[in-house]
């Protein structure tokens, strides 16, 4: 079953074509490594799926829903089913880890918030760190908080832009393995990365972006 579908998508930034007449399908439960040179359009690809940007031409379907035609409130509701890990992770710096992780649940007024926080902290190896203020965390811990925040509400799609950028090799591998595990439970995971060693080692599907085209390998 196709989860994400790009149909003849064009995206142009101040005269420079990032994507031109690009089409691609990503199935439900797929784990995808998104590779390409710096500035090739990996982040734009993820921003298009998360509806943070709209294509200049073409259509993007997510679970048969055209996200290019949604209004502001519908986009917000759509994003509740997407977990996003950004390259520069932003937090509410003066609040605790627990508060930051619980934000997607608070926004959706979900139940059993404390139980879910404990479970997700356990998953990203941040047990007993919940009451720490974000400012006091190391770069690696911040990255793991960002991942915890992206997965706590069990999204259908997880989009990660360089999620292992600030982590050592072992932790990077365990984080990616965790995302692979989530894809096995049915979530569609797209990870943009530069770490070719990791990509080669884990042997997952790869989408390469180069010269305005998206090539599935």
């Amino acid at each position: 079953m196709v989860m994400i579908s790009f149909n003849n998508v064009c995206k142009i930034y101040s005269g420079k074509k990032v994507f031109y007449d690009t089409s691609i399908n990503i199935k439900k439960g797929d784990f995808i490594f998104l590779t390409g040179e710096s500035g090739s359009g990996k982040t734009t690809f993820l921003r298009l799926i998360s509806a943070l940007e709209k294509p200049d031409k073409g259509d993007i379907l997510v679970d048969d829903l055209s996200i290019t035609k949604l209004n502001n409130n519908e986009i917000s509701d759509y994003r509740k089913s997407v977990g996003i890990i950004m390259q520069d992770n932003y937090f509410v710096e003066d609040r605790t880890v627990n508060y930051n992780i619980s934000l997607p649940l608070l926004v959706s007024h979900r139940k059993e918030i404390n139980r879910k926080i404990r479970a997700v902290l356990d998953l990203v190896n941040l047990n007993n760190q919940g009451n720490k203020i974000i400012q006091s965390l190391s770069a690696g811990e911040r990255q793991r908080v960002a991942i915890a925040r992206a997965i706590i509400h069990r999204p259908n799609i997880i989009l990660a832009d360089e999620p292992t950028g600030n982590l050592d090799q072992n932790l990077s591998k365990s984080i990616i393995n965790m995302l692979i595990k989530l894809s096995q439970y049915g979530a569609t995971v797209v990870v943009a990365t530069h770490e070719f060693n990791l990509v080669r080692e884990l042997q997952q599907k790869i989408i390469n972006i180069s010269n305005e085209k998206i090539i599935s390998e």
């Binding site: 943070l52 917000s76 089913s81 932003y90 934000l103 649940l105 959706s108 007024h109 918030i113």
Partner: protein, 317 residues
């Protein structure tokens, strides 16, 4: 809110919703007191503007309240003793043909004395009189042309008629007093409009600038809310309590300030009215009027806040 009750009706969800409101309120209250200098610079101009509106409103209200029987010009005609009854009717008929006449009432000598006693509360004096000093009287009520201060109340057709009638002994009018009060009221109405415009401009300017600074410095936080699927209304709520807390505080300060100023002006008005033998009683704004005023400034504040945040969200995200 509607969606919350439709889809996820649970006590925990409701508690979470209420908790967010509480957190937003606390956050905005803290924000206001975080920087005392900023607080001072924001609160002072709004409080002054509110007090100006309140002062002009309270003074108008007091003038209207104390002069409730002085809406129309009252002309009292003292007729000569030997006036035949048919001439009284002629005079009434002639006066009724003049412009802006509201009522004409004739009083016999005895009725005149009773009326004098009633109006001036001087039963003791009147009851002890050995004779009636008052003649037959006609009281005319004439409409005052409110906003025409230059209208000539002394050389118009009615006054010319009264001057030249042989059976009218004398007459008196309260027009000079009315002209003065109308003049004061007109100035106060103009001042109220000016103060209201000043208040609205100050509110829009202060809240616009403050919210702009706040949302710009919290750009990253807002980005987090956007990517986790928060609606604009949820993000707005974070800042919406600011104008509510601010305006409520400013109203309290403005109200206290207005009390001092109005007491001072009320004394002057009281002295002025006392010279016309009118007892002045001070009347403050009622609870309902205060609530309406608070509601009015909060509506302006919240609307400005909403417009600024919406524009920011539309432009930057």
């Amino acid at each position: 809110m509607k969606k919350l009750f439709q889809n996820r009706l649970s006590l925990e969800a409701l508690m979470s919703y209420m908790k967010h409101h509480k957190e937003c309120f606390q956050y905005n209250a803290k924000l206001l007191f975080k920087n005392p200098m900023k607080l001072f610079l924001i609160i002072i101009p709004i409080s002054i503007a509110i007090s100006l509106v309140l002062v002009s409103y309270i003074l108008i209200k007091n003038i209207n309240n104390n002069l409730i029987d002085y809406e129309h010009e009252k002309i009292i005609l003292f007729l000569k003793k030997d006036i035949p009854n048919n001439y009284v009717d002629d005079i009434k008929k002639n006066i009724s043909k003049k412009n802006n006449i509201i009522s004409i009432d004739f009083y016999t000598e005895e009725e005149s004395l009773n009326l004098y006693s009633k109006i001036n509360s001087r039963d003791n004096v009147v009851n002890n009189l050995s004779f009636n000093p008052l003649p037959k009287t006609i009281i005319i009520k004439r409409k005052v042309i409110d906003y025409d201060y230059d209208y000539d109340y002394e050389n118009n057709d009615l006054n010319i008629f009264l001057e030249n009638n042989a059976y009218i002994d004398s007459y008196s009018s309260n027009i000079i007093f009315l002209k003065k009060t109308i003049y004061i009221k007109n100035i106060l109405y103009k001042f109220l409009i000016f103060a209201l415009i000043f208040l609205i401009l100050i509110l829009i300017n202060v809240i616009n600038n403050y919210i702009k600074i706040e949302v710009t410095s919290n750009k990253n936080k807002i980005l987090i809310y956007r990517i986790i699927g928060a609606r604009n209304s949820y993000i707005r709520r974070e800042y919406m309590y600011f104008p509510i807390v601010l305006n409520f505080l400013c109203f309290l300060i403005g109200f206290i300030l207005a009390q001092f100023i109005t007491r001072y002006f009320s004394n002057s008005i009281g002295d002025f009215l006392y010279s016309y033998e009118i007892q002045y009683s001070f009347l403050n704004i009622s609870f309902v009027e205060a609530v309406l005023m608070v509601f009015f400034i909060i509506i302006i504040g919240v609307t400005t806040c909403k417009i600024v945040i919406n524009r920011f969200l539309d432009e930057d995200f």
